[in-house]
């Protein structure tokens, strides 16, 4: 048996909960268990150099402005602030391979693989539920696919990434995961929700 126990293992029990809707549950919730969550930071004059390495290594184009994410088979790279990035990847060796390429003069890597809990929320009422806590205009024209934001929900800080029109990936501090889950699922009750089995 693996020694890894994810933050919501005991809490996010698969099943259908809340109001029963003729069109089915308004949203689906899934605990994300990526192998790697890695923060990367450049120095003020090495942003370009770091982005070149990331672009090459991850086979993606690093978005120019913060608040955007780029996705490739290697993972999702979110630009959190100028010169600061969060990489979420299913590749458990990616930190080591990036460490070999990025010297401390270019930037630093901080492993956050255990520091966050990830939740994917998707479905027709996903935005309705998020809006009960997140003070961001989630209209698809204002918060476009690929947008990333840091916000809070029920006093829990969260990183929000829009995957498509009705799918959002959320990352919260691991210690708040259960509390956050309770608040999120409570907000979802009126629409009905289904908890999916993690991969």
């Amino acid at each position: 048996m693996s020694s890894l126990v994810y933050a919501l293992a005991e809490t996010a029990r698969p099943g259908v909960y809340g109001a029963s809707r003729a069109e089915g549950p308004g949203l689906e919730l899934l605990e994300l268990r990526p192998a790697t969550m890695l923060q990367l930071g450049a120095w003020p004059d090495t942003k370009g150099a770091l982005e070149a390495i990331l672009s090459d290594h991850l086979k993606l184009e690093v978005p120019v402005t913060p608040g955007q994410a780029a996705v490739s088979p290697e993972g999702t790279l979110m630009v959190m602030a100028p010169g600061r990035y969060l990489l979420v990847s299913d590749n458990g060796d990616i930190t080591q391979s990036l460490l070999e390429k990025i010297a401390v003069e270019t930037g630093v890597l901080t492993d956050l693989s255990h520091a966050r809990a990830g939740i994917r929320i998707s479905g027709r009422n996903a935005a309705d539920v998020l809006l009960k806590g997140v003070v961001i205009d989630l209209d698809i024209r204002a918060f476009t696919v690929g947008s990333v934001a840091q916000s809070s929900f029920h006093h829990v800080g969260l990183t929000l990434h829009r995957k498509d029109e009705t799918t959002f990936d959320l990352f919260v501090f691991r210690g708040f995961a259960v509390s956050f889950w309770e608040a999120l699922t409570d907000a979802a009750l009126e629409y009905g929700y289904e908890v999916m089995t993690p991969a």
């Binding site: 020694s3 890894l4 126990v5 994810y6 933050a7 005991e10 809340g18 109001a19 923060q39 930071g41 120095w43 401390v104 003069e105 630093v108 901080t110 492993d111 956050l112 693989s113 255990h114 520091a115 966050r116 309705d128 809006l131 009960k132 997140v134 003070v135 205009d137 989630l138 209209d139 204002a142 029920h154 006093h155 829990v156 501090f173 691991r174 210690g175 708040f176 995961a177 259960v178 509390s179 956050f180 309770e182 608040a183 409570d186 907000a187 009750l189 009126e190 009905g192």
Partner: protein, 1004 residues
Amino acid sequence: MSGYRLENGGLIDRSKRLNFTFDGKRYGGFSGDTLASALLANGVSLFGRSFKYHRPRGVYSAGPEEPNALVTLRSGGRSEPNTKATVIELYEGLQASSQNRWPNLQYDLLSINQIGGSMLVAGFYYKTFMGPTRKAWMLYEHFIRKAAGLGAASKEADPDRHEKSNLFCDVLVVGAGPAGLAAALAAGRAGARVVLADENAQAGGALLSEQEETIDGLPAQDWVAQSLAELAALPDVSIMPRTTVYGYYDHNVLGAVERVADHLATPNAHQARQKHWTIRCASVVLATGAIERPIVFDGNDKPGVMLADSARRFAQRQGVAVGRQVVVFTNNDSAYRAALDLKDAGVEIAAIVDPRGDISSPLKDAVQKRGIRLLASHVVTGAKGSKSLKTVEIAPFDPENQTVGESREWIAADSLAVSGGWTPTIHLASQAGGKPVFNAEIASFVPGEALQNWHAAGACNGDFALEDCLSAGANAGAVAARDAGFASGTTDVFDVTVPAHAGSGSSLYPLWEITRPNGPKGKKFVDLQHDVTAEDVRLAQREGFESVEHLKRYTTLGMAADQGKTSNVNGLALMAAALERSIPEVGTTRFRPPYTPVALGALAGRETGFHISPVRRTPMHDLHVKAGADMLTAGQWMRPQVYRKSGEDVFDAYVREARTVREGVGMVDVSTLGKIDVQGPDAQEFLNRVYSNGFKSLPVGKARYGLMLREDGCLFDDGTTWCLGETQYLMTTTTANAAGVLSHLEFLLATVWPEMRVQVTSVTEQWAGVAVAGPKSRALLQSVIKDLDLSDEGVPFMGVYPATLEDIPVLVARLSFSGELAYEVYAGSNYGAALWEKLILAGEAFGLVPYGTEALGTLRIEKGHVAGPELDGRTTARDLGLGGMTSSKKHYIGRPLMEREALNEDNRQRLVGVISSNGTPLSAGSHLVEGKTAEQPGRSLGHVSSTTYSPAIDKFIALALLEGGLETNAERILYAADPLRGGHDPVEVVSPCFFDKDGSRMHV
């Protein structure tokens, strides 16, 4: 009053009968009724008792302006006081009860207040209940509050859900009357995201009462239906009925409450009763309409007296006649519609009383055609009746000289419909705008300069004619859409037909108060909800409260839940008359949110009970709970306090746990410690500047205890920092200060030393941490760690090494907070639970016990290690005996101010240990004094900061901060005085290190 249900008419569904109770009595009504209309239809005229005088009151209006018919809705935890019967939608099984009466509504003993009423003037309580001492008020208040007031809140928890959410749009339209609908159509057609909110269940506003008007060839109500259908079909328009926009805040943020399930007995499963919306938008159209104004005369509060248009609304919307013999008293054209419609519905109109001499001929013709008696140049001087209206007193009036004639006529009537004109509903505009502007034509205030992006349209802007409302609305909608970046096409033009007898909006003859030239001087009410009379306004003026803001507070006119909806303009006019100034000179008060009351539940949403704020759990949380630990919150974290065995109390448990650590081995979850990843080429130099002790020489694989000072030289935080690589460090902080230290470091890097190449990141959540402490800790760990030699040579004191614990990658650091041989083992948080379980399993052979925060405290107090209670923001390193850790060879944050004389005086309070001399437990917070008795303690020389029972020396001990410290107090006997909780016990002052003074136990 004897209201009844009309044979025909109304927007109610007569096929759906609903049963309800009022004060326990059963009644019937129809779907589409309000509680007020259903009670009126049942002939009920008495709805409540007034605030101060307990006068009988009926229903005064048909909307949210209702000052009289306030009832308590539902019962038990669901009961809601002060709800307006005029806005409560009837549902099957509704329960309501009247308020402010005892023993019952018909026979209210406190109605005796009416007799002494001339005493109960403005400021009565302040003036009367002054003495004899300040405490006297405390006694009086209880009885005064019981006698005066409205409904009482339930003390039971509300079983229903309230929720909060956020809403974003381009254009918010407040009010779905003709102006609001036109605005929403214009903005919606332009492509803007539009939210149309209306406080009523049905959109349409005033159009819901209109049978004769047409818009674009359609009957008004069909036009409403067509407009709603078009809006519903637009993809970016949402219509929100039952939603009151109550507050307008900065940056175009508005507060609204949606009454999701208030029209149901109980909400559906998982449905909120009310939802609070915080709305952010680019632009707002205020189409909030207008409220009819009363006229002030003797007895104008009698049950049966009501606003004229409200009487019309009851007939048009719910098919209810408000009485059988109705007198209409109006100073403007609008109330003629009420008289004509009621007459057409078969209600007897006893007379129309109008102070104006010159009444337009279409109105006159319509009145004459129906055979209604018209008394032009007359006024109502009084209304009589006790629990219901019986007669109306009429007198001739000279509109030129504004004088009331002496002759009298009494007309029998059970209903008196009054109109003093219309007051634009400018609450939101006033909240987010400049001073309201007086419009003499309508004798009322209209919105002033917009200080935010809003546009007023329709009746709330003083435009009462239907065509004006529609075109102003359409225009405002187009402009609002443009504000949000949506160009609109041509401005909508409306083809409107209005009957000739609709009259003119500019026909008003301003009339505020009717005063008899002689005869009785009864009470004339300005603010019906707060029982403020015309005489109270004049009294306030005589006593110097001339400013409208003072008038409001002294008399309570227009305060609280009512917000002056019916009383504001009349009150100002009376003050203006008393001051012999014009109304604009007197000015108006600023309206404040909320426009109508907002339930606290709606503001709280789901943040109630355990969920009032989030809690933080360590990766081992579930295992602690399973092990039966008592979990306590430490800040947001949940931490095990003790792991009690059966029969143990907290004391027994922590003493056992601490003793086991000293004698064998224990382990504690230290995952909550703050952890900060410090990386970069300049990381070491950075640490050397933020810590008061040297960090230059720290080699890779070693940890060092560091002290951090604030800029002012006082201690900020402490913790160990581990050198994991030449440019990578793991800094630990106290649990409580984790966030504060991180912001301190970020601030320094961003502003003080921006040239330094260092990044700091919180990794508190990345690592699960376990401290394994006790003489057997090495043997235990070595039994599960095979790739690292844990001997004193392999892992020396303060050594930090990576290792593998069974299959878990860990960091092992030889650190001790307990004074024993000890290690901290860190693993990735997702390994935390497995790490704990593996140690528990392996520990069985070594007698391992898990220990909680109590034993953790005991062990550190025995060793004299400082923590939060000593790092209280006032102490310096020297105060706590850590002066040796402040370098004199380098610069660091806090050094210059640490050298201030005051921080280095010998008589400062410094860390000492104290031992209870008589075996009594000590309380943290006790003061150290010289006096032997609690009665004469003498001055405080310091205080006890951390206390425990010490199993190591079998005594109650404590750390304390004491003037002069150990140097001047060693072995002295003082007293720990705890006057609040009781306690005055002798203590002996000793060294703060109670146990193993040479530290030999951890260096083995």
